[in-house]
Symmetry: C2
Subunit: 132 residues, 2 copies
């Protein structure tokens, strides 16, 4: 584990939400080159340390977001607020059963799944309604 990889993993471990490459590059504890960030994230994800998904949001465009797999392959799904751009953790993935059912029904093997929600969070709904 090199310095660059360790720093990225550490930042993502501390993070309360998935982070994009641009967010990681701005983080004070990440001091390596952008190409190194991309290469390190690939490395870490391939080894099962990280989990990622691509999310498009009008304000930030299309970016891949990374988070730590809490404990060996466990992962969460997220809600993304299109107003404040925060993520809300929906808790551990509960799709194992459904995936198995679909695999049996269609004969395919699922190697990955992507699921997330977008909308407006409670806080942003309040501030919008009171202001406008």
């Amino acid at each position: 584990m090199t310095k660059a990889r360790r720093s990225l993993l550490h930042v993502l471990e501390q993070a309360s939400e998935p982070l994009s490459v641009s967010a990681l590059l701005q983080h004070p504890d990440v001091s390596c080159n952008q190409a190194t960030v991309y290469r390190s994230l690939h490395y870490l994800e391939q080894r099962g340390y990280l989990d990622s998904f691509v999310l498009h949001c009008t304000d930030h465009g299309t970016e891949r977001y990374y988070s730590c797999t809490k404990e060996q392959a466990e992962h969460s799904h997220w809600f993304h607020c299109t107003a404040c751009h925060r993520f809300i953790d929906l808790g551990a993935c509960l799709m194992k059963e459904d995936l198995k059912r679909w695999e049996q029904q269609y004969g395919f093997t699922v190697s990955d799944h992507t699921f997330f929600l977008t909308g407006v969070c409670a806080t942003c709904k309040e501030s919008t309604s009171s202001t406008d």
Copy 2:
């Protein structure tokens, strides 16, 4: 409804799976400029005629895929085979209940959700096992 928009909508109505912009541009019935394709797809999606999601696959990179909303806002979710790159329709979305539950639990309002599976389809599993 202009000629460009009509042709795109028609191609997507006939399609059995979501299509990317590059696939649409290659389609014989689509004869307009790439910028027009993008602008038309935005137009059609905003009006509720289309549904889309961003999918990354190693062979094709990151692209947005479009499909028709069968009947006024009904939509499917899909399995994507990373070997033959075909999509399998998982049927109409059954997440209404879950979304409502999450909205109540966290107080946010969900305006959109993304869900899809990736893996290897039955056909590709066979041909792989018999060849290698």
